[in-house]
Amino acid sequence: MLRIGLIVVTVALIVVSAALFLGRLLAIWAVMKTARPLNRTDRLGERIKSVVEHVVLHRRMFRITLSGTLHYFIFSGFVILLIDIVETVGEVFFPGFTVGRILAPLVDIWVILVAVGIVLALYNRIILKPKRFEGSDEKDAYLILGLIGAIIVGIVIHDSFFPFVAPQVFHVADPVARAHFLGFAVSRLWVALGWTGPTAASIGYALGYLIDIGVVFAFLAYLPYSKHFHIFLAVPNIFIRNLNPQGELVPEPIDETMAIRNFHDFNWKDIADLYTCTECGRCQAVCPAYAAGQPLSPKMVILKLRDALNERMAENTLDDPNTASLAGGVISPEELWACTTCGACQEACPVFIEHVPKIAGLRAALLEDGVIDPNAQKVLVSWDRQGNSFGQPARKRPAWAKNIDIAIKDARREPVDWLWFVGDFASWDPRVQRLTEQIAHLLERSGIDFGILYESEVNAGNEALRLGEYGLFEALAQKNIKALEAAQYRRIFTTDPHSLNALKNEYGKFGFHAEVRHYTEAFLEWIDEGRIAVKSVPIRATYHDPCYLGRWNGIVKAPRTLLQRLGVQLVEMPRHGAQSFCCGAGGGRIWMDETGMTDRPANQRIREALALGDVPFFVVACPKDVSMFSASVTAMGVENQIRVVDMADLLAGAVGLKTADEAILALASMATVSP
């Protein structure tokens, strides 16, 4: 009777929950099929490796120790749960079935670990309350924790009654009774209470069975409607992650438009992303726009899109032209334009959700409708007309070179070893021009054979693309590529990480491939080759990783090794390397209105450096950073505590250039020439 009853209930549960689960899955699959194509099933080996790294080893998860640990307990519990399900369903369907004495106790060990995980999760959510959970569906989180708790309780209950049910009702032996040590311990209680007879044990067993298996299947049916769908989608989503260069926003040339207005405009990975989000808020916690009090949270972008998709699926309005546009309707223009495209969100996301391409695509739709900050619009027009963001005549691009008495080679006319792609800010911003001249002096002093493209260089287009202006990006890229192809050089270097990113990662789709270096890499190479002799500049300094250098291009070691060669004592800020915090300038933000910002990211970053205590130098390696952080230091009135210096300043001092900053020169002159 008991067996038959449980079998019937189990079969019913399997059928109903599988139907619900599959129904939902197919509905989502149908949306994915109408989405834009994308190749994410190549490079199998690499994909498997990344799944091992991020699922089995929880690489990103462990960046927050407590959350990583508690998640590991619960996550591994799900794997062990499979043993329990097989065992429990097996012993009912096929009397005498057992998983053996080795696997059985694993279940009990993990019951304890999962219980610890649940307690830690509750501690995290109730006592610590990290801000990153703001906006997440907390009720869902508690419900799921409750369900998981119920499952482990159920496991212990049915295991504790099975030693009595097995011989008396199922008429089989229970060889693993003691191996389920938790269940066995509890069974002693039933012995004491005298609940060991066939009826009492059957009731107890059935209860435990239903709590365990019943909740498991209820869970299965509920999952695809909750954030815990990530239990199923996290692994595939990590598998289909982007393995191309991270800095490449658009993998292939675009014929039509990159604008995203409805769900068919997303690619299929974007749709998978929406359902994989765990609402953990790690992206929100690292977002500079969110930290600055802007209306943007990368987590909420994903959740709002997911909710809108769910609603449209339920109401069958996916193709209804009357639904609000995703760009400007579901996600507001203010949210979209607040993004600096720093990529911190993507770097933090444990399930490899890609926020930036979505934001850029949504921006493209706003742009097509003419919704853009007026200043940014001016810059777009300047890029189109003059090829630079300063609205200056193209002919004046190399004007800075006239301020110095170095004859800079014209790479369009004569072959050079290194082609220097100067970039807009380095060419025109008065604060940065000084550094550009310094670099020219350094190159000449070191006998580097270099040249520039003069007025044939135009803005690299990195920001145009990130503002959603693909056509303009392409036009700029084609102009540069034409000039670069006509020039003769061996390698390219640039001081500007944004140009570096475009040249290195975005021009490939137009068939342009060249070796592109950041100046920190190039100078390190020249020093190590003995072409540049440097004195030590013995200062204590911290180093700010520019987003487009450190995070998007993984260039974090070269600048640090360079600092080492210069004898700088590096003190790291808490957020550094790929986890660096954006200055707030990227993605076109530098030209946009800052009203509504409560705390500028650059100011927050300077405070982070000040909190290190007694670190008087803030080293940067990006022209935009020079502008952003110098402005912050002045605005905050902390000039006497910290000074923003560019790597070029340090190099000039270390080499002993006459034009170098006097203070740095003085420091360097006290030191000896390093070997």
């Binding site: 097509e368 003419g370 853009i372 619009q377 027009v381 609205g391 193209a394 002919r395 056509g471």
Partner: protein
């Protein structure tokens, strides 16, 4: 409502203009849409968005006006007309107005909009000249154009911040000072797409003979008086300001 917007391109003053032997090197100049014409286009598109209208953009082909016309189409204009004939970049406004009059007579639009002025208006503004040729009502330095019950409502600005509200029956020709909103952005891709898919209507007009002016000399204004330098001491500067305001009787005691 049939709206015609007259547009022209003018030298881009971001770039330095170059002279050779007292002559402007026209071939080296890059041209951009005249900013007031761009405002006129935006106002026309806003009227279209608000009340519906058929917007035609017209430009005299004095060189490469195609991009300007395609851009206007990309922004939402319905039709673009290029008036072709034996025209050069040195076309005077008087001639230009005569050419445009030829076209407008055949089309009889309800409303003609154009920029109130352009940086190369040497012999008067297009709006007034053309209205004369067409013999229709005209107002310049206009903004806030709305259509209501087949009538046009608009505001004309006068010096000293005065304004007047007008109502007029079509046809009317208005010289636009500024659109209600800054001219909209149009993406490069959209312009390129229209360059592929749209066609410009070409209308042949014979170069009319009009009386014209000859520029004898261009020179900088001669200084009549000199600026008074007040230094950078805040108190002194403040005193000077108060004194000057007092002298001009702009202060109430």
């Amino acid at each position: 409502m049939k709206i015609t917007v007259l547009m022209k391109d003018v030298p881009d003053l971001v770039e330095d203009l170059e002279l050779e032997a007292g002559q402007l090197l026209v071939d080296d100049i890059s041209f951009v849409v005249s900013e007031w014409d761009d405002q006129a286009l935006e106002e026309a598109l806003l009227i279209k968005d608000e009340a519906g209208a058929d917007v035609t953009i017209v430009a005299v082909d004095t060189g490469d006006v195609d991009t300007m016309l395609y851009t206007a189409l990309a922004k939402g204009a319905d039709r673009a007309v290029k008036i072709v004939g034996d025209f050069t970049r040195r076309l005077t406004n008087r001639t230009r107005a005569a050419i445009l009059a030829e076209y407008c007579k055949s089309e009889s639009p309800d409303l003609i909009l154009t920029g109130v002025q352009a940086i190369d208006d040497i012999d008067g503004q297009i709006a007034g000249l053309l209205a004369g040729y067409l013999d229709i009502p005209h107002a310049s330095v206009v903004r806030e154009v709305h259509t209501m019950d087949a009538q046009l409502h608009f505001i004309q600005e006068y010096s000293g911040g005065r304004m007047a509200e007008f109502t007029a029956a079509s046809p009317v020709l208005l010289g636009i000072q500024a659109a209600r909103k800054p001219p909209r952005y149009v993406t490069v891709a959209k312009v390129r797409q229209l360059q592929k898919s749209a066609t410009l209507d070409e209308v042949q007009v014979v170069l009319p003979s009009t009386p014209g002016l000859t520029v004898r000399r261009l020179y900088k204004p001669e200084a009549a008086g000199h600026a008074e330098m007040w230094g950078d001491d805040a108190d002194t500067v403040a005193e000077h300001i108060v004194r000057v305001l007092g002298e001009k009787k702009l202060l109430r005691s």
